[in-house]
Chain length 218, copies 2
């Protein structure tokens, strides 16, 4: 676990004269740069390297704009974009938890909650509360915007896997069963996009990019 | 000039059964992955490498959420986020144009307009038009949301330069005059954030991170 307690802003604190509230906000904006260094398991389609959380979050925001028409319930597009822009910020301190890693940490929820307290605590109290509320909303999946945002969060890596002819579908913990469980997260936000992920998985199985459940333990 | 005409989706086209409209949208979503490979001149704060356009666009979206209170005019935050999420997409085909490069291409505007036609043309016609309208709005700076989005687009690399103790302020074309010209783009969207960029530039000059105009040609 990476437990570097130093803030990026500490290298070069804002000059004298910056109002206290804005200085706190810039401290957070600077610290957020670290999201660009948190690697996900997913490979890019456009280059031979893994995707980072900032790139992933941007891609989800674009997908919300383009695919909102497929949400099962009416959504506030601007609000849904906010949710996906901030949804992975806590991984700056908690790290990424690959979904198909067989040894996924049991304490992921606690680590992420602690990270949220630490990270959002850099902000002025009112914004710490509103950012925490956005993150909680996404995590809970309790609103139409959160459900659609989560659908994008499932669909994007499936699309990258498809474009790569396998990607994380080749990880030890990935089988038809676990891949279909991820697909369910798309269906929960969008029946029509869920149908497409089902086609991708069907065809991925046919092409040998996903292991059938029956050979999972081989 | 990189003129690879192939689309990322051509590697593995969507399986049979995906509706035509959605297939076009997925073609665009896949092609957008290329934005993660377009490098800007700006260095990250969190790692020793240059920033890419997708990371940059994500950072602007986060900044819109956190700093909207400093907009000089009332803005629709969701709309402003949309603008910054899509504002650099044309660079997938047109490339990045570093602001402090002394030999900035004269034909940047034409190249970007051609790239917009090609890229947005991958979408169904109604979405090609709405995406083009968002991009034109940002480019024109004609709305409060576009002005604030552009302010973030100027502020973010200034903050990265500050955190790096120089960054692109050390490029051959950067002098107090050209750096202050960029600062003007922040002021145009936010007087109070403009005041802060002015403090950063004043202090950057004092520390020798920015060349005074007088020695620009040395």
């Amino acid at each position: 676990m990476d437990v570097d307690e130093s803030l990026l802003i500490d290298r070069n604190p804002p000059p004298d004269g910056v109002p206290e509230r804005l200085a706190a906000q810039l401290r957070f904006v600077a610290e957020a740069d670290k999201l660009k260094t948190i690697l996900r398991a997913s490979p890019l389609a456009a280059a031979d390297r893994r995707e980072n959380d900032a790139e992933h979050s941007w891609h989800l925001a674009l997908m919300v704009i383009l695919l909102a028409e497929y949400a099962d319930e009416p959504i506030d597009v601007g609000h849904a974009i906010k949710l996906v822009v901030i949804h992975d910020l806590v991984e700056i301190y908690a790290g990424d938890s690959p979904v198909f890693a067989p040894d996924a940490a049991d304490d992921q929820a606690e680590r992420e909650a602690a990270a949220a307290t630490r990270l959002f605590g850099l902000l002025p109290p009112d914004q710490a509360a509103s950012m925490r509320a956005l993150w909680d909303e996404f995590e809970s999946g309790a609103t139409p915007e959160a459900r659609f945002g989560k659908a994008m969060d499932r669909l994007e890596p499936m699309l990258l896997n498809w474009l790569n002819g396998g990607g994380t579908w080749g990880m030890p913990g990935a089988t038809e069963a676990t891949v279909r469980a991820r697909e369910a997260g798309v269906v929960a936000g969008s029946t029509s996009l869920g149908s497409v992920t089902s086609l991708l998985v069907d065809e991925g199985l046919r092409r040998g990019w996903i292991r059938p459940a029956a050979v999972a333990q081989d």
